[in-house]
Protein backbone atom coordinates (compact mmCIF):
# COMPACT_ATOMS: atom_id res chain seq x y z
CA UNK A 1 0.00 0.00 0.00
CA UNK A 2 2.87 2.43 0.63
CA UNK A 3 3.71 2.42 -3.03
CA UNK A 4 0.10 3.16 -3.99
CA UNK A 5 0.01 5.86 -1.32
CA UNK A 6 3.17 7.58 -2.46
CA UNK A 7 2.06 7.60 -6.07
CA UNK A 8 -1.26 9.06 -5.01
CA UNK A 9 0.56 11.86 -3.18
CA UNK A 10 2.58 12.58 -6.31
CA UNK A 11 -0.60 12.67 -8.40
CA UNK A 12 -2.30 14.99 -5.93
CA UNK A 13 0.69 17.36 -5.98
CA UNK A 14 0.67 17.27 -9.77
CA UNK A 15 -3.02 18.07 -9.83
CA UNK A 16 -2.49 20.95 -7.41
CA UNK A 17 0.11 22.34 -9.76
CA UNK A 18 -2.36 21.91 -12.59
CA UNK A 19 -5.08 23.66 -10.59
CA UNK A 20 -2.72 26.59 -10.05
CA UNK A 21 -2.22 26.66 -13.79
CA UNK A 22 -5.99 26.81 -14.19
CA UNK A 23 -6.55 29.91 -12.13
CA UNK A 24 -4.93 32.62 -14.16
CA UNK A 25 -5.56 35.35 -16.75
CA UNK A 26 -6.59 38.51 -14.92
CA UNK A 27 -8.08 40.29 -17.95
CA UNK A 28 -9.62 38.54 -20.89
CA UNK A 29 -12.11 39.18 -23.64
CA UNK A 30 -14.09 36.36 -25.23
CA UNK A 31 -14.54 36.75 -28.96
CA UNK A 32 -16.96 34.36 -30.62
CA UNK A 33 -16.31 34.24 -34.31
CA UNK A 34 -16.87 32.17 -37.39
CA UNK A 35 -14.65 29.40 -38.61
CA UNK A 36 -13.89 31.42 -41.76
CA UNK A 37 -12.10 34.28 -39.98
CA UNK A 38 -10.20 31.79 -37.87
CA UNK A 39 -9.28 29.13 -40.42
CA UNK A 40 -7.91 31.69 -42.87
CA UNK A 41 -5.49 33.02 -40.25
CA UNK A 42 -6.91 36.55 -40.33
CA UNK A 43 -7.40 36.64 -36.56
CA UNK A 44 -3.79 35.59 -36.00
CA UNK A 45 -2.90 38.84 -37.76
CA UNK A 46 -5.49 41.03 -35.99
CA UNK A 47 -5.63 39.79 -32.41
CA UNK A 48 -2.02 39.94 -31.11
CA UNK A 49 -1.57 43.73 -31.66
CA UNK A 50 -4.87 44.34 -29.84
CA UNK A 51 -3.81 42.09 -26.97
CA UNK A 52 -0.52 43.92 -26.66
CA UNK A 53 -1.98 47.42 -26.80
CA UNK A 54 -4.67 46.69 -24.21
CA UNK A 55 -2.78 44.15 -22.07
CA UNK A 56 -5.61 41.70 -22.43
CA UNK A 57 -5.91 38.08 -23.50
CA UNK A 58 -8.44 37.56 -26.29
CA UNK A 59 -10.05 34.14 -26.07
CA UNK A 60 -11.12 33.25 -29.58
CA UNK A 61 -13.92 30.70 -29.79
CA UNK A 62 -14.31 29.72 -33.45
CA UNK A 63 -17.74 28.26 -34.21
CA UNK A 64 -20.47 28.66 -36.81
CA UNK A 65 -22.31 31.98 -36.86
CA UNK A 66 -25.44 30.33 -35.42
CA UNK A 67 -23.54 29.08 -32.38
CA UNK A 68 -21.65 32.37 -32.06
CA UNK A 69 -24.95 34.26 -31.86
CA UNK A 70 -26.23 31.70 -29.31
CA UNK A 71 -23.08 32.20 -27.20
CA UNK A 72 -23.80 35.93 -27.33
CA UNK A 73 -27.42 35.44 -26.31
CA UNK A 74 -26.35 33.54 -23.21
CA UNK A 75 -23.68 36.10 -22.43
CA UNK A 76 -20.87 33.60 -22.87
CA UNK A 77 -19.04 35.85 -25.32
CA UNK A 78 -18.34 39.57 -25.01
CA UNK A 79 -18.01 40.45 -28.67
CA UNK A 80 -18.98 38.72 -31.91
CA UNK A 81 -17.44 38.81 -35.38
CA UNK A 82 -19.93 37.04 -37.63
CA UNK A 83 -21.39 37.05 -41.13
CA UNK A 84 -25.16 36.79 -41.18
CA UNK A 85 -26.57 40.35 -41.55
CA UNK A 86 -30.18 39.15 -41.13
CA UNK A 87 -29.38 37.11 -38.02
CA UNK A 88 -27.28 39.98 -36.67
CA UNK A 89 -30.12 42.47 -37.16
CA UNK A 90 -32.46 40.16 -35.25
CA UNK A 91 -29.84 39.68 -32.53
CA UNK A 92 -29.65 43.45 -32.02
CA UNK A 93 -33.43 43.95 -32.33
CA UNK A 94 -34.00 41.29 -29.66
CA UNK A 95 -31.80 43.24 -27.27
CA UNK A 96 -28.90 40.77 -27.15
CA UNK A 97 -26.38 42.99 -28.89
CA UNK A 98 -25.49 46.65 -29.29
CA UNK A 99 -23.55 48.74 -31.76
CA UNK A 100 -23.34 46.43 -34.73
CA UNK A 101 -20.91 47.69 -37.35
CA UNK A 102 -19.80 46.52 -40.74
CA UNK A 103 -16.20 45.32 -40.76
CA UNK A 104 -15.40 43.81 -44.12
CA UNK A 105 -16.80 41.67 -46.89
CA UNK A 106 -15.73 39.08 -49.33
CA UNK A 107 -17.82 36.82 -51.45
CA UNK A 108 -19.18 33.34 -51.61
CA UNK A 109 -18.44 31.13 -54.58
CA UNK A 110 -19.97 27.90 -55.80
CA UNK A 111 -17.26 25.28 -56.10
CA UNK A 112 -17.35 21.78 -57.53
CA UNK A 113 -15.32 19.21 -59.43
CA UNK A 114 -13.67 20.54 -62.60
CA UNK A 115 -15.62 17.92 -64.62
CA UNK A 116 -18.72 19.96 -63.63
CA UNK A 117 -21.42 17.27 -64.13
CA UNK A 118 -24.23 19.79 -63.60
CA UNK A 119 -22.79 22.14 -66.23
CA UNK A 120 -22.99 25.34 -64.16
CA UNK A 121 -19.60 26.80 -65.04
CA UNK A 122 -19.65 30.55 -65.67
CA UNK A 123 -23.35 30.92 -64.93
CA UNK A 124 -23.93 34.49 -63.76
CA UNK A 125 -26.78 33.93 -61.32
CA UNK A 126 -26.28 31.73 -58.28
CA UNK A 127 -29.95 30.77 -58.02
CA UNK A 128 -29.91 29.47 -61.60
CA UNK A 129 -26.84 27.34 -60.87
CA UNK A 130 -28.58 25.91 -57.79
CA UNK A 131 -31.67 25.14 -59.88
CA UNK A 132 -29.58 23.22 -62.36
CA UNK A 133 -27.79 21.26 -59.62
CA UNK A 134 -31.19 20.33 -58.19
CA UNK A 135 -32.60 19.34 -61.57
CA UNK A 136 -29.65 17.10 -62.41
CA UNK A 137 -29.53 15.82 -58.82
CA UNK A 138 -25.75 16.10 -58.64
CA UNK A 139 -24.45 15.79 -55.10
CA UNK A 140 -24.47 19.06 -53.15
CA UNK A 141 -22.93 19.32 -49.69
CA UNK A 142 -24.60 21.73 -47.30
CA UNK A 143 -22.98 23.00 -44.10
CA UNK A 144 -26.34 22.39 -42.42
CA UNK A 145 -25.19 24.08 -39.19
CA UNK A 146 -26.96 27.48 -39.16
CA UNK A 147 -23.64 29.15 -39.92
CA UNK A 148 -23.50 32.33 -41.99
CA UNK A 149 -22.61 30.27 -45.03
CA UNK A 150 -25.54 27.94 -44.43
CA UNK A 151 -27.91 30.90 -44.04
CA UNK A 152 -26.67 32.33 -47.32
CA UNK A 153 -27.14 28.95 -48.98
CA UNK A 154 -30.74 28.76 -47.75
CA UNK A 155 -31.40 32.26 -49.09
CA UNK A 156 -30.22 31.23 -52.54
CA UNK A 157 -32.39 28.09 -52.50
CA UNK A 158 -35.28 30.37 -51.60
CA UNK A 159 -34.50 32.64 -54.53
CA UNK A 160 -34.45 29.58 -56.74
CA UNK A 161 -37.83 28.55 -55.35
CA UNK A 162 -36.53 25.12 -54.35
CA UNK A 163 -36.58 23.34 -51.01
CA UNK A 164 -33.69 20.95 -51.52
CA UNK A 165 -34.15 17.38 -50.44
CA UNK A 166 -33.20 13.95 -51.62
CA UNK A 167 -30.11 11.80 -51.50
CA UNK A 168 -28.18 14.29 -53.67
CA UNK A 169 -28.51 16.99 -50.98
CA UNK A 170 -26.34 16.17 -47.98
CA UNK A 171 -26.20 18.32 -44.86
CA UNK A 172 -23.01 17.51 -42.95
CA UNK A 173 -23.14 19.87 -39.97
CA UNK A 174 -19.43 20.67 -40.03
CA UNK A 175 -17.17 23.69 -40.40
CA UNK A 176 -16.20 25.16 -43.76
CA UNK A 177 -12.81 23.45 -44.01
CA UNK A 178 -14.25 20.02 -43.18
CA UNK A 179 -17.14 20.59 -45.59
CA UNK A 180 -14.75 21.50 -48.42
CA UNK A 181 -12.73 18.35 -47.78
CA UNK A 182 -15.91 16.31 -47.84
CA UNK A 183 -17.13 17.88 -51.07
CA UNK A 184 -13.72 17.28 -52.61
CA UNK A 185 -13.72 13.60 -51.60
CA UNK A 186 -17.23 13.10 -52.95
CA UNK A 187 -16.75 15.14 -56.12
CA UNK A 188 -19.68 17.29 -55.02
CA UNK A 189 -20.73 20.93 -55.21
CA UNK A 190 -20.83 23.27 -52.25
CA UNK A 191 -21.12 26.93 -51.37
CA UNK A 192 -18.06 28.40 -49.66
CA UNK A 193 -16.62 31.75 -48.72
CA UNK A 194 -13.73 32.59 -51.01
CA UNK A 195 -11.24 33.03 -48.16
CA UNK A 196 -11.56 29.54 -46.74
CA UNK A 197 -11.54 28.08 -50.24
CA UNK A 198 -8.28 29.86 -51.11
CA UNK A 199 -6.71 28.83 -47.83
CA UNK A 200 -7.38 25.12 -48.46
CA UNK A 201 -7.34 25.07 -52.23
CA UNK A 202 -4.11 23.10 -52.46
CA UNK A 203 -5.66 20.15 -50.60
CA UNK A 204 -8.83 20.17 -52.68
CA UNK A 205 -9.98 18.81 -56.01
CA UNK A 206 -12.48 21.64 -56.40
CA UNK A 207 -12.59 24.67 -58.70
CA UNK A 208 -14.61 27.87 -58.62
CA UNK A 209 -17.52 27.50 -61.04
CA UNK A 210 -19.84 30.41 -60.22
CA UNK A 211 -18.81 33.80 -58.82
CA UNK A 212 -19.60 37.49 -59.05
CA UNK A 213 -23.37 37.44 -58.44
CA UNK A 214 -24.38 40.29 -56.12
CA UNK A 215 -26.42 37.69 -54.19
CA UNK A 216 -23.15 36.01 -53.22
CA UNK A 217 -21.81 38.94 -51.21
CA UNK A 218 -20.56 37.95 -47.76
CA UNK A 219 -20.73 40.79 -45.23
CA UNK A 220 -19.01 40.50 -41.83
CA UNK A 221 -20.16 42.52 -38.85
CA UNK A 222 -18.92 43.08 -35.31
CA UNK A 223 -21.35 43.32 -32.39
CA UNK A 224 -20.86 44.02 -28.68
CA UNK A 225 -22.97 41.79 -26.47
CA UNK A 226 -25.50 43.90 -24.57
CA UNK A 227 -24.00 44.51 -21.10
CA UNK A 228 -27.39 45.44 -19.65
CA UNK A 229 -28.39 41.79 -19.65
CA UNK A 230 -25.61 40.31 -17.51
CA UNK A 231 -23.13 42.14 -15.27
CA UNK A 232 -20.18 39.89 -16.21
CA UNK A 233 -20.10 40.96 -19.84
CA UNK A 234 -16.98 42.99 -20.59
CA UNK A 235 -18.51 45.80 -22.53
CA UNK A 236 -15.61 48.27 -22.25
CA UNK A 237 -13.16 45.80 -23.77
CA UNK A 238 -15.71 44.79 -26.41
CA UNK A 239 -16.13 48.46 -27.29
CA UNK A 240 -12.34 48.83 -27.59
CA UNK A 241 -12.20 45.79 -29.85
CA UNK A 242 -14.89 47.25 -32.12
CA UNK A 243 -13.03 50.57 -32.30
CA UNK A 244 -9.84 48.67 -33.05
CA UNK A 245 -11.20 46.44 -35.80
CA UNK A 246 -12.98 49.33 -37.55
CA UNK A 247 -10.03 51.73 -37.22
CA UNK A 248 -8.40 52.78 -40.47
CA UNK A 249 -5.10 51.11 -39.49
CA UNK A 250 -6.68 47.72 -38.84
CA UNK A 251 -8.78 48.06 -41.96
CA UNK A 252 -5.54 48.43 -43.94
CA UNK A 253 -4.20 45.24 -42.36
CA UNK A 254 -7.39 43.46 -43.41
CA UNK A 255 -7.09 44.77 -46.97
CA UNK A 256 -3.53 43.48 -47.26
CA UNK A 257 -4.11 40.18 -45.52
CA UNK A 258 -3.41 37.18 -47.74
CA UNK A 259 -1.85 39.12 -50.62
CA UNK A 260 1.59 37.69 -49.99
CA UNK A 261 0.32 34.13 -49.72
CA UNK A 262 -2.54 33.94 -52.20
CA UNK A 263 -1.76 36.83 -54.54
CA UNK A 264 -5.09 38.43 -53.71
CA UNK A 265 -6.95 39.85 -50.73
CA UNK A 266 -9.23 37.50 -48.84
CA UNK A 267 -11.33 40.25 -47.24
CA UNK A 268 -12.26 43.78 -48.32
CA UNK A 269 -12.62 46.26 -45.45
CA UNK A 270 -15.75 48.41 -45.43
CA UNK A 271 -16.19 49.81 -41.92
CA UNK A 272 -18.21 53.01 -42.18
CA UNK A 273 -15.65 55.29 -40.51
CA UNK A 274 -13.04 54.28 -43.05
Amino acid sequence: MQKVGSIFIILVLASLAAALGCSRSPKSLTLATTTSTYDTGLLDALVPPFEKANKVKVKVVAVGTGQALALGERGDADVLLVHDPKGEAKFVADGFGVERQDVMYNDFVIVGPSSDPAGIKNMKIAAQAFTQIAQRQTTFISRGDESGTHTKEKTIWQQAGISPQGSWYQAVGQGMGATLNLASEKGAYTLTDRGTYLAYQRNLGLTILVEGDEALRNQYGVIAVNPARLPKIKYDLARKFIDYITSSETQKVIANFGRDKYGQSLFFPNASNN
Binding site: K59, V60, R74, D76, L230, K232
Partner: protein, 232 residues
Protein backbone atom coordinates in the same frame (compact mmCIF):
# COMPACT_ATOMS: atom_id res chain seq x y z
CA UNK B 1 -2.44 6.21 -46.65
CA UNK B 2 0.71 8.23 -47.31
CA UNK B 3 -0.64 10.69 -44.73
CA UNK B 4 0.28 8.18 -42.00
CA UNK B 5 3.89 8.20 -43.13
CA UNK B 6 3.93 11.99 -43.36
CA UNK B 7 2.28 12.07 -39.97
CA UNK B 8 5.00 9.91 -38.40
CA UNK B 9 7.68 12.15 -39.84
CA UNK B 10 5.79 15.26 -38.74
CA UNK B 11 5.37 13.80 -35.24
CA UNK B 12 9.14 13.38 -34.96
CA UNK B 13 9.64 16.94 -36.19
CA UNK B 14 7.10 18.37 -33.75
CA UNK B 15 8.48 16.47 -30.76
CA UNK B 16 12.17 16.88 -31.39
CA UNK B 17 12.00 20.49 -32.51
CA UNK B 18 10.37 21.06 -29.09
CA UNK B 19 7.62 23.04 -30.82
CA UNK B 20 6.39 25.19 -27.92
CA UNK B 21 2.78 25.16 -29.07
CA UNK B 22 2.68 21.36 -29.25
CA UNK B 23 4.28 21.09 -25.84
CA UNK B 24 1.75 23.50 -24.37
CA UNK B 25 -1.11 21.45 -25.87
CA UNK B 26 0.41 18.19 -24.63
CA UNK B 27 0.99 19.58 -21.15
CA UNK B 28 -2.55 20.92 -20.90
CA UNK B 29 -3.97 17.55 -22.00
CA UNK B 30 -2.05 15.85 -19.20
CA UNK B 31 -2.93 18.50 -16.63
CA UNK B 32 -6.63 18.46 -17.39
CA UNK B 33 -7.05 14.69 -17.70
CA UNK B 34 -4.57 14.02 -14.84
CA UNK B 35 -6.40 16.34 -12.47
CA UNK B 36 -9.76 14.91 -13.49
CA UNK B 37 -8.44 11.36 -13.03
CA UNK B 38 -7.13 12.03 -9.51
CA UNK B 39 -10.42 13.62 -8.44
CA UNK B 40 -12.49 10.87 -10.07
CA UNK B 41 -10.32 8.15 -8.49
CA UNK B 42 -10.47 9.73 -5.03
CA UNK B 43 -14.27 9.71 -5.29
CA UNK B 44 -14.85 6.66 -7.47
CA UNK B 45 -12.71 4.03 -5.72
CA UNK B 46 -14.32 4.55 -2.29
CA UNK B 47 -17.77 4.80 -3.85
CA UNK B 48 -17.28 1.62 -5.89
CA UNK B 49 -15.97 -0.26 -2.84
CA UNK B 50 -18.90 0.93 -0.76
CA UNK B 51 -21.35 -0.20 -3.44
CA UNK B 52 -19.68 -3.62 -3.50
CA UNK B 53 -19.52 -4.17 0.25
CA UNK B 54 -22.75 -2.59 1.49
CA UNK B 55 -26.27 -3.97 1.18
CA UNK B 56 -29.09 -1.43 1.20
CA UNK B 57 -32.51 -0.88 -0.30
CA UNK B 58 -32.31 0.57 -3.78
CA UNK B 59 -28.78 -0.73 -4.36
CA UNK B 60 -29.81 -2.33 -7.64
CA UNK B 61 -31.09 0.91 -9.28
CA UNK B 62 -27.99 2.77 -8.05
CA UNK B 63 -25.77 0.15 -9.68
CA UNK B 64 -27.84 0.42 -12.88
CA UNK B 65 -27.29 4.19 -12.81
CA UNK B 66 -23.53 3.74 -12.41
CA UNK B 67 -23.48 1.30 -15.34
CA UNK B 68 -25.44 3.80 -17.45
CA UNK B 69 -22.95 6.48 -16.45
CA UNK B 70 -20.14 4.29 -17.79
CA UNK B 71 -21.59 4.90 -21.23
CA UNK B 72 -22.30 8.62 -20.87
CA UNK B 73 -21.71 10.32 -24.22
CA UNK B 74 -19.08 13.05 -23.67
CA UNK B 75 -21.03 15.55 -25.78
CA UNK B 76 -24.02 15.21 -23.46
CA UNK B 77 -21.78 15.77 -20.45
CA UNK B 78 -20.26 18.75 -22.27
CA UNK B 79 -23.67 20.21 -23.03
CA UNK B 80 -24.86 19.93 -19.42
CA UNK B 81 -21.63 21.32 -17.97
CA UNK B 82 -21.79 24.13 -20.54
CA UNK B 83 -25.34 25.06 -19.55
CA UNK B 84 -24.38 24.94 -15.87
CA UNK B 85 -21.26 27.11 -16.24
CA UNK B 86 -22.70 29.51 -18.82
CA UNK B 87 -22.95 33.09 -17.60
CA UNK B 88 -26.72 32.60 -17.88
CA UNK B 89 -26.50 29.31 -15.97
CA UNK B 90 -26.63 28.50 -12.25
CA UNK B 91 -22.84 28.43 -11.82
CA UNK B 92 -22.12 31.31 -14.21
CA UNK B 93 -20.77 33.41 -11.35
CA UNK B 94 -17.66 31.22 -11.16
CA UNK B 95 -16.51 32.41 -14.57
CA UNK B 96 -15.18 28.93 -15.36
CA UNK B 97 -16.61 28.52 -18.86
CA UNK B 98 -13.89 28.25 -21.52
CA UNK B 99 -11.21 27.57 -18.87
CA UNK B 100 -9.34 24.35 -18.03
CA UNK B 101 -11.37 24.12 -14.81
CA UNK B 102 -14.54 23.55 -16.86
CA UNK B 103 -12.78 20.80 -18.80
CA UNK B 104 -11.70 19.11 -15.56
CA UNK B 105 -15.29 19.14 -14.25
CA UNK B 106 -16.63 17.55 -17.44
CA UNK B 107 -13.95 14.86 -17.42
CA UNK B 108 -14.54 14.03 -13.75
CA UNK B 109 -18.19 13.42 -14.61
CA UNK B 110 -17.15 11.11 -17.44
CA UNK B 111 -14.48 9.18 -15.51
CA UNK B 112 -16.28 8.82 -12.16
CA UNK B 113 -18.85 6.15 -13.14
CA UNK B 114 -16.24 4.19 -15.10
CA UNK B 115 -13.91 4.04 -12.09
CA UNK B 116 -16.73 3.34 -9.62
CA UNK B 117 -18.24 0.60 -11.79
CA UNK B 118 -15.02 -1.29 -12.44
CA UNK B 119 -13.90 -0.90 -8.81
CA UNK B 120 -17.20 -2.35 -7.65
CA UNK B 121 -16.79 -5.36 -9.93
CA UNK B 122 -13.20 -5.90 -8.78
CA UNK B 123 -14.08 -5.69 -5.09
CA UNK B 124 -17.05 -8.03 -5.52
CA UNK B 125 -14.67 -10.52 -7.15
CA UNK B 126 -12.65 -10.83 -3.94
CA UNK B 127 -13.36 -13.97 -1.90
CA UNK B 128 -16.07 -12.92 0.60
CA UNK B 129 -14.42 -15.04 3.31
CA UNK B 130 -11.53 -12.62 3.39
CA UNK B 131 -13.58 -10.00 5.23
CA UNK B 132 -14.62 -12.50 7.91
CA UNK B 133 -11.06 -13.76 8.28
CA UNK B 134 -9.46 -10.37 8.80
CA UNK B 135 -12.31 -9.23 11.02
CA UNK B 136 -11.90 -12.31 13.20
CA UNK B 137 -8.20 -11.46 13.43
CA UNK B 138 -9.25 -8.19 15.03
CA UNK B 139 -9.32 -5.81 12.04
CA UNK B 140 -11.59 -2.77 12.19
CA UNK B 141 -14.12 -2.40 9.30
CA UNK B 142 -11.84 0.24 7.80
CA UNK B 143 -8.82 -2.08 7.94
CA UNK B 144 -10.90 -4.92 6.49
CA UNK B 145 -11.91 -2.72 3.54
CA UNK B 146 -8.29 -1.76 2.92
CA UNK B 147 -7.31 -5.45 2.96
CA UNK B 148 -10.01 -6.22 0.40
CA UNK B 149 -8.93 -3.30 -1.80
CA UNK B 150 -5.35 -4.54 -1.58
CA UNK B 151 -6.57 -7.93 -2.78
CA UNK B 152 -8.61 -6.31 -5.57
CA UNK B 153 -5.73 -4.05 -6.58
CA UNK B 154 -5.38 -5.50 -10.07
CA UNK B 155 -8.97 -4.66 -10.93
CA UNK B 156 -8.90 -1.26 -9.25
CA UNK B 157 -5.89 -0.23 -11.32
CA UNK B 158 -7.73 -1.39 -14.43
CA UNK B 159 -10.64 0.80 -13.31
CA UNK B 160 -8.33 3.82 -13.10
CA UNK B 161 -6.71 2.96 -16.45
CA UNK B 162 -10.16 2.71 -18.06
CA UNK B 163 -11.12 6.07 -16.56
CA UNK B 164 -7.96 7.65 -17.93
CA UNK B 165 -8.53 6.11 -21.35
CA UNK B 166 -12.06 7.48 -21.38
CA UNK B 167 -11.04 11.08 -20.75
CA UNK B 168 -7.65 11.53 -22.45
CA UNK B 169 -9.26 10.40 -25.73
CA UNK B 170 -12.48 12.38 -25.28
CA UNK B 171 -13.18 15.36 -27.54
CA UNK B 172 -16.89 16.22 -27.36
CA UNK B 173 -16.98 17.61 -23.84
CA UNK B 174 -13.68 19.51 -23.81
CA UNK B 175 -14.55 21.09 -27.17
CA UNK B 176 -17.87 22.37 -25.83
CA UNK B 177 -16.83 23.63 -22.40
CA UNK B 178 -13.23 24.57 -23.27
CA UNK B 179 -13.86 26.16 -26.66
CA UNK B 180 -10.57 24.92 -28.16
CA UNK B 181 -8.97 28.32 -27.49
CA UNK B 182 -5.38 28.53 -28.64
CA UNK B 183 -2.93 28.86 -25.77
CA UNK B 184 -5.61 28.41 -23.17
CA UNK B 185 -7.94 25.43 -23.63
CA UNK B 186 -6.62 23.60 -26.68
CA UNK B 187 -5.81 19.96 -25.92
CA UNK B 188 -4.56 17.16 -28.15
CA UNK B 189 -7.99 15.86 -29.18
CA UNK B 190 -9.47 19.27 -30.03
CA UNK B 191 -6.28 20.21 -31.89
CA UNK B 192 -6.66 17.01 -33.95
CA UNK B 193 -10.23 18.00 -34.87
CA UNK B 194 -9.07 21.50 -35.85
CA UNK B 195 -6.14 20.32 -37.96
CA UNK B 196 -8.34 17.74 -39.68
CA UNK B 197 -10.95 20.36 -40.54
CA UNK B 198 -8.17 22.52 -41.93
CA UNK B 199 -7.10 19.65 -44.14
CA UNK B 200 -3.70 19.52 -42.42
CA UNK B 201 -3.81 15.74 -42.19
CA UNK B 202 -0.11 15.19 -41.51
CA UNK B 203 -0.19 17.46 -38.46
CA UNK B 204 -3.42 15.78 -37.30
CA UNK B 205 -1.86 12.33 -37.60
CA UNK B 206 1.25 13.59 -35.81
CA UNK B 207 -0.83 14.84 -32.89
CA UNK B 208 -2.66 11.50 -32.86
CA UNK B 209 0.63 9.64 -32.62
CA UNK B 210 1.72 11.89 -29.76
CA UNK B 211 -1.58 11.23 -27.99
CA UNK B 212 -1.21 7.45 -28.35
CA UNK B 213 2.39 7.56 -27.15
CA UNK B 214 1.47 9.55 -24.06
CA UNK B 215 -1.42 7.22 -23.26
CA UNK B 216 0.93 4.26 -23.61
CA UNK B 217 3.51 5.79 -21.28
CA UNK B 218 0.90 6.68 -18.66
CA UNK B 219 -0.48 3.15 -18.79
CA UNK B 220 3.01 1.68 -18.33
CA UNK B 221 3.38 3.86 -15.26
CA UNK B 222 -0.02 2.80 -13.91
CA UNK B 223 0.81 -0.86 -14.55
CA UNK B 224 3.75 -0.51 -12.17
CA UNK B 225 1.14 0.11 -9.49
CA UNK B 226 -0.24 -3.35 -10.05
CA UNK B 227 3.24 -4.54 -9.18
CA UNK B 228 3.52 -8.05 -7.89
CA UNK B 229 -0.18 -8.73 -8.23
CA UNK B 230 0.41 -8.73 -11.97
CA UNK B 231 3.32 -11.19 -11.80
CA UNK B 232 1.39 -13.80 -9.81
Amino acid sequence: MEEIGHGLWRAFQLIFSLDPQVWAILLLSLQVSGTALVIAALLGVPFGSWLALTRFRGRRPVVALVYTGMGLPPVVVGLIVYLALSRSGPLGGLGWLFTPAAMVIAQVVIALPIIAGFTMAAVMGVNPNLKQQVTSLGATPWQATLAILQEARLGVIVAIIAGFGGIISEVGAVMMVGGNIEGSTRVLTTAIVLETSKGAFATAVALGIILLTITFLVNVALLRLQGRAFER
